[in-house]
C-alpha cells in the first residue's frame, strides 16, 4: 500500500505540492511531460528528499533501512544507464537479490538458479554483457532484475517508451507474470496500455492531482479532453489522439 500525506518534493523548486493520496491497488500515473510523475516515483523510493509523509505498507519511508526499503519498493527507470557496460546479464539480474544477501558472502546457488530461470523465461543470454543488448532487451533486463528483487511494490517509469510494438507486448506479458500480490505502479504516456490495464488512475498536473479509483471514470471522452486539452477518439477498445 502506498500513502502520501501532504507530500511536497522536487529539485530546485517543488514540482509535487501537498499531494495526499492512498491506494493498495495497482495504479497508473498519467500526466503531461514535466508534471512530476518521475519525481513522485523517486520520492516514493527514497531517492530524493521530500517534505510531508510517505507510508509504504503503513510504515513511514524514513524508518526503513536501505535494505528493507529495497525489499518493499523499487523503481525501474525508462532506460538502462550504466557506467560499467561489461556486467553480464546474469550478474545484473543477480544484483536484484542484493537486499537479501548477507553482507560479505557471495550469491547462493539457490539465488543463482532463480536468476537463471528468470533470464531463460525472458529469452536473454546470461553471459552476454549488458552493453551489447538492444534497447528492447535492456528494458526486458531491467524488468527481469525487478522480478528477481521481489519488491512488494514496483514502479515502472515509462516502460514502453523505448519499445517497438513486439517488445511492448512482451513487457505486457512480463507484467502479467508478476506475483498477484505485487503492487504495480506504471507511469506512462501510452493511454492504450493504461486503458487495457484498467488500473486505478492518478492524474498529475501543475501542482495538483486527481485520483480515479475506477479506471472507467478517467477514460471518458469528456474527462480525457479536460485532462489533456485535446480530443481523443475511442475505437474498438483503442484510444488515440484526434489529429484533426
Amino acid at each position: 500500500m502506498i500513502e502520501t500525506q501532504v507530500l511536497s518534493c522536487g529539485y530546485e523548486h517543488n514540482i509535487i505540492e501537498a499531494l495526499s493520496f492512498k491506494t493498495a491497488k495497482n495504479l497508473v500515473i498519467l500526466g503531461a511531460n514535466g508534471a512530476g510523475k518521475s519525481t513522485l516515483a523517486k520520492a516514493l523510493c527514497g531517492l530524493i528528499e521530500y517534505e510531508g509523509e510517505i507510508l509504504i505498507n503503513t510504515t513511514s519511508l524514513s524508518h526503513f533501512s536501505a535494505q528493507e526499503r529495497a525489499k518493499s519498493i523499487t523503481y525501474i527507470p525508462p532506460k538502462l544507464e550504466s557506467y560499467d557496460t561489461y556486467i553480464t546479464v546474469l550478474e545484473f539480474v543477480l544484483m536484484g537479490r542484493h537486499p537479501y544477501k548477507s553482507p560479505f558472502s557471495d550469491y547462493t546457488d539457490k539465488e543463482q538458479a532463480l536468476a537463471r530461470a528468470l533470464i531463460k523465461t525472458h529469452a536473454l543470454d546470461p553471459r552476454k554483457s549488458i552493453g551489447a543488448l538492444s534497447s528492447g532487451q535492456q528494458q526486458l533486463l531491467l524488468i527481469t532484475q525487478a522480478l528477481a528483487q521481489e519488491s512488494k511494490i514496483i514502479i515502472f517509469d515509462e516502460p514502453t517508451a523505448n519499445l517497438d510494438p513486439k517488445h511492448s507486448l512482451e513487457f505486457y506479458k512480463a507484467l502479467q507474470g508478476l506475483k498477484s500480490d505485487t503492487q504495480k505502479v506504471i507511469i506512462t504516456h501510452d493511454l492504450g496500455l493504461a486503458y487495457k490495464l484498467g488500473y486505478e488512475v492518478l492524474f498529475i498536473e501543475q501542482k495538483s492531482a486527481k485520483h480515479y479509483q475506477n479506471s472507467k471514470d478517467f477514460f471518458t471522452s469528456e474527462n480525457l479532453h479536460s485532462c489533456y486539452g485535446v480530443s481523443f477518439e475511442q475505437h474498438a477498445g483503442l484510444i488515440g489522439v484526434c489529429y484533426e
Binding site: 557506467y83 560499467d84 542484493h98 537486499p99
Partner: protein, 322 residues
C-alpha cells in the same frame, strides 16, 4: 589486444620487476649475493628488497584508489591525483617539513599524519564543493579538482619562499616522488596500506558492482550509497595520504592501471579489483627498474617515469572519449 600481446605485456612487467633488486649503481650478481658478509648482500637486503616491496605495494594502493575513484564517480578520468587530493597531501607534508615536525611517535611519523590530513581535508573540500555541481555531471567535479590542484601548488610555492634552503630542497625532492628507502618500515607501512585497501574493496565488491551501474541503481538495491561513499573515500584518502608522505606524489598509476587491467581482462568492474592491484604493483616496480637503469648517470625520480608513460596515455584516453 591479442592474447600474445597481453602475455608479452605481463611478461615485460614481471621481468622488469624481478631484475629490479639486481640493478642500480652497484650491480649485484648471485655469487656476491650469497656471501652474507658482503656489501652487495647488505645492499640487496637492506636497500633493494625493501625498495621493491615499497614500489609494489605503493603501486597497488595507487592503482586501487584510482579504480575506486573511477567507480564511485563513474568517470574514467577520476583519480586522487586529478581530484587534487594528492596536491592536498603534498601541501600537508610540506607544512610538516617547514614546521620542522619530523618526529616519529609510536611508529607514526608526523609528516605521515600531515600527509593524511592534507589528503583528507581535500576530500572533504571536494565533497563539500561537489554538492553545488553534482547536477552538472562528474566533469564539473574534475574541473574542481584541477582548480584545487592549482591552488595547492600555489600554496606550496608560498611554502617554498618561507622555507630554509634545506627545507626547500627536501620539499622539492619530495614533490618529484622517490622510492629510495632504507630498512623495512616504509615497505611495511605501504604493504598495510595496499593490502588494507585491497581487503576493504574486496569485502565491498558487491556494493561496488552496484555503484558501477549508477548511484540510483545501488540505492534501489538496498545500498546506503552516501555512507558507503564517505567510508570508502575516508579509507582511500587515509592510505593515499600516508603513502604520499612516504614516497611523494606518484601520478598516473591510478589513472592508467584500471584501464590497462580492463584491456587485459575485459570483465565487469568488480572483477578488476585483483588484476588492478597486481598490475599496479608490477607497473610501479617496473617503472622503478627503468628509473635506475645502469646506463643512467643518476636515478630519474619515479614520478617523472610514470608521467612519461602516463601523460601520453592520458591524452589517448581523452581522445578515445572514455
Amino acid at each position: 589486444m591479442s592474447v600474445m600481446s597481453k602475455y608479452l605485456f605481463l611478461l615485460v612487467l614481471v621481468a622488469l620487476t624481478s631484475i629490479s633488486p639486481f640493478i642500480g649503481a652497484i650491480d649485484i650478481t648471485w655469487s656476491t649475493l650469497l656471501q652474507s658478509s658482503s656489501l652487495e648482500h647488505q645492499i640487496f637486503f637492506d636497500l633493494r628488497i625493501p625498495r621493491l616491496l615499497l614500489a609494489f605495494f605503493s603501486g597497488m594502493a595507487l592503482a586501487l584508489s584510482g579504480w575506486l575513484f573511477q567507480t564511485l564517480f563513474r568517470n574514467a578520468l577520476m583519480t586522487p591525483y586529478t581530484l587534487g587530493i594528492s596536491g592536498g597531501a603534498i601541501l600537508g607534508t610540506g607544512i610538516a617539513v617547514v614546521l620542522g615536525l619530523n618526529i616519529t611517535f609510536l611508529g607514526i611519523n608526523t609528516t605521515a599524519i600531515f600527509g593524511f590530513g592534507g589528503a583528507f581535508a581535500s576530500v572533504l573540500l571536494i565533497l563539500w564543493l561537489s554538492r553545488y555541481v553534482t547536477n552538472r555531471g562528474s566533469n564539473a567535479l574534475l574541473l574542481l579538482g584541477i582548480a584545487l590542484s592549482f591552488f595547492f601548488s600555489a600554496a606550496l610555492m608560498v611554502l617554498f619562499s618561507i622555507a630554509s634552503a634545506m627545507q626547500a630542497h627536501s620539499i622539492l625532492h619530495y614533490t618529484m616522488g622517490s622510492l629510495s628507502t632504507m630498512g623495512y618500515t616504509p615497505a611495511i607501512t605501504a604493504s598495510v596500506m595496499g593490502l588494507g585497501l585491497l581487503l576493504v574493496l574486496y569485502l565491498k565488491r558487491f556494493e561496488l558492482s552496484l555503484l558501477g551501474v549508477n548511484d540510483e541503481h545501488a540505492q534501489l538495491k538496498g545500498v546506503n550509497t552516501k555512507r558507503l561513499t564517505y567510508f570508502l573515500l575516508f579509507i582511500s584518502s587515509l592510505s593515499i595520504g600516508v603513502l604520499i608522505s612516504i614516497t611523494g606524489p606518484i601520478g598516473f598509476v591510478g589513472l592508467i592501471i584500471p584501464h590497462v587491467a580492463r584491456k587485459l581482462y575485459p570483465r565487469a568492474n568488480h572483477h578488476l579489483i585483483f588484476p588492478t592491484a597486481l598490475i599496479g604493483g608490477l607497473f610501479l616496480a617496473a617503472c622503478d627498474t627503468l628509473s635506475r637503469l645502469p646506463q643512467l648517470q643518476s636515478e630519474i625520480p619515479i614520478g617523472i617515469v610514470t608521467a612519461f608513460i602516463g601523460g601520453p596515455f592520458f591524452i589517448y584516453l581523452i581522445i578515445k572519449g572514455r
